[in-house]
Every structure is written in C-alpha cells, then in structure tokens.
Amino acid sequence: MIEADSLEKSYGKKKVLRGISFRAEPSTITLFVGPNGAGKSTTVKVLAGLIRANGGVARVNGFDVVSERIEAQRSLAYLSQSPSFHPRLTCLEVLRFYAGLRGVAKARCESMLELTGLTEVARLRTGKLSGGMRQRLGLALLLLADAPVLLLDEPGLSLDPAWRKRLQETLHFEAQRGKTVLVTTHLIAEWNNVADRCLLCRDGEIERELDPTDLPHNFDAGIVPGSARVPRAGFGVSPKQALDQAQLLRKTEKFANARTPPPTRETRALPR
C-alpha cells in the first residue's frame, strides 16, 4: 500500500510538487503518467526515500518515509530509469551485495539472473553491460527482495519490445501475488490495458484519473500531452504499429497546448 497526502516539493522557487495525494492499493498496478516536469519521478523518489518532501506525508506499507525510513525502505524495491552499478563488479557480485543488504538468501541471486536472462553474463563486469542488460539487472534487483511495494520510474526505456512485454507480464504476476506496483511512464500506448489504475499528473498535481484500458483515446484527445516515444518498425514492432504510434504522436503534439477539460464529477471525487 502506498499513501501520499498533500506532498509538496520545491527546488528554490520552483514548485515541483503542489500537494499530490493518492493511494495505490495492494494487488494493483498503478500507472503514473504525465508530461515532462509533471512531478512523476519526484513523487516516486520521495516514496523511495531519495528526496525529502517539503510538506505532506508519504507512507509505504504503513511506514512514514521520513520518520520510519528504514522500515519503509525494507518494504519497497525501486527501479530507476537508467540503473547504475559499480562498474568493476560483476552482475553476480552486485546481486549478492544487495542480497546481503536485504537479508536475502544468496541462492536467490542465481534465480533472479535466470529470470532476467542474465545467467550467461553473471560473471561479466557491469561496466561492460549494454543499456538493456543493465535494465534487466535492475529488474533482477527489483524482484530480489520480494518487497511488497514496487516502484518503477520510466522502466524499460532501454529494453527491446520482447523484454518490455516480459516486464509488464512480470509486474502483472507480482501484482496478482498481492504487491503494490507503481509505474511512471511516458510510453502510454505500450502500457494500455496493463495497469489497473492510471493517474494523470500535471504541474505537480494529480489532475485526474484515466481509464487504464483506453489510454490511447486520452492521448488522442490531447488530455495527456506529448510524451510518447515512437517505436521504430522492426524488432518486434510492425510497420503498422509504428505508423499508428507516429500518427498518435502527431495528434498529441497538435493538442499539446490544449486546455484540460473542466473537472467532471468523477475527477472532483479524486483524492487531493
């Protein structure tokens, strides 16, 4: 369970979070979408204990992320956009180190490497891994401690389509096991029909909740302004899919400056 209540964060005079409030329940995947600078990553970093909010309260699994930071962090696992590891240690050494920090049996490290297809590079230094392999090692670390709350910040950007699909399936499986999964992403079309909830974040606030099974429609209508990446044809993406995505992005850019529709009864009911 994740609870955020009126989170505020400023860098100098710039307000990045303006009172974000939401709850993410166990057994669900909650998607956090929005344009660049909306405050998605900052919110996740506050939850992960990397940043201190200037105001408001955040709880992970019931633990305050500031006053009970260690307990909260014991309940979560975090995957950043581009995870970095000690460049001179091998994949297995990195996993074993984190297993030690989390009190996890070392035997689980090999299982995680197998799960993420990294068994063959287990003894390769992480400095020699490709971007996609580093992401997979990050995924292995995310799952290593079997934490009940999973936080993912723009995951899968370096992964090929097959592994991105695998990532979504894995998160779906973990959610079914009772975990709370929170994902921030720009790749809206890719995450359509994957999450249970989708929150649109803009200007440091939760603006509204979107239908997670109809994200391209929201995209199409300009509700979620331009942030998608157009996948190239080939490598698991058909030419038609790439064309559809490109057309969608063009429409989005056209509506990028459109004002958000006035709040409806449903959006007013959202927690603030």
Partner: protein, 269 residues
Amino acid sequence: MNVLGAQFNSAGMSIPRALLGREFRAALINRYFQVFCALSLLGGVTASLFSEDANAAGFLVLQIALYFVSLFALLAGVSSAQGEREEWQLLFTQPVPRTAYVIGKFLALFSIFGAVLLLLFLPALISGSAPRSLALLYLQTLLLAAAFLSLGLAAGFLAHDRAQAIIIGVSAWLVLLVGVDLIALFAARWPVFQNWPDVWVAVLMLNPLDSFRIEALFALQQIPAEAANKTPLANWWIEHAAAWFALISIFWSAALITIAGWRLNRWEE
C-alpha cells in the same frame, strides 16, 4: 501479505558482511591499492637493503610512511567514495542507514591498509631492526592511514566529482604536510606566539602529520623528552607523544567520518 512479509526479517550481520565484502572486492581491483602494494614492498625491501644499520631502516620506513602512506590512504578514500557515486540512487533506496556505508568503507579500507603495511614493515623486521620500535611505528602508521583514509572519504563524499574530490583531498594533504609548518615558521616571530609559545605548539600538535613526525622521530632517535623542554605544553607533548598521536588521529578519523556521514544523509537526487 504474510508470505511477502516473510522476507522482512532483520538482515542482522548480513549488512556489515555485505558492505565489507564489497569493499574488499572493489579494493582488490583498485589501481591505487595495486600500486600501493607494489610500492610498499619495494620501499620495505629498499629500506632494509640500503640501510647502514638497523635503526636507519626504521628511519627510512618513517619517511615512507609520512609522505607515501598518508597520500595513498587519502587517494584510496577518495577513490572508494567516488567509485560508486552513480550507484547512490540505488544504494540509498536500500533499508540501510547511509552512515553505515561510510563506516563500512572506513573499516574495510583500514583492514586492507593494515595488511598492506606489513609489506612495508616486514622486510625491516626480517633484516634485524628493533621489533618493538618497528611494531610501534607500524601501529602509528596505521593510525595515520586511518586519519587520511577518513580525509579521503570526506573529500570524496563532499565533492561533486572525482576531479574535485582529488583537488580538495590533495590540497588538504599538502596543507597538513608542509603548509601548516611553513605558516608556523613564518608566524613564529609574531608577538602573540612570542608571548604565548604554547599556542604555537598547540597548532603543531593538532596536525596529525606533525604529531606523527615528532612522536616517531623522538621514539626512533631515542631522544630524551627533556631535550625539548622549552614550554610546558611542548614538554607534556613529548612526554606523551605516543598517546597524544593516537588520540589526535582517532579524533581526526572520527570527525571526518562524521562529516562524510552528515554529507551523505543530506544528499538528495
């Protein structure tokens, strides 16, 4: 949730073991340590082979410890602190107090220095130098290394990148090695120091390198404490030089580790 909660046991001893293990592994492939091992052995063998008598070997080892061990300890600390800077984001989401990373690094590097310094001292011991004075010098060199490891860690954690960390660390090392002495020499004629020479002595006493130099010189040369009986404080210092050096190096180490821990606790993405 009970199944999930089963993982939530206390990590117990596995955290310190993981932190130390990682540092040992990283040190084995650290170029500073590889060069330090080679130079320590070379220095130790050279001191033994080319010294005219057993005491001279100890004196040579003292010079190596003063200039070379302090610098390598500093560089090892900087390298360790900066080596995983890009990983801080991932490290600091783990359920471990950030100060534990600093303490873990310090303890691991201190242990490694303890082992590597044997390469410097063993040849002199084998060649017949006085074992008692060499053992004392070994322990004091280790304490000196601890102070400069801490300085390196503090510089490494305070700086924004490796280059800045090296500039801060090496500048501090130069100030302690020669800067303080030059300033003290220049300031010795000032009325304040002429009237209160103990203040002048106190400045030197607070510098771990001067403290180490004075203690080791007096111990190796077997100079009686009365020889320096110029001021009450100087007299007290020479009489308690070994204890004072231990105290001041532990104080420097603790203060610098506290600064490094404070910096890490304030770090934000």
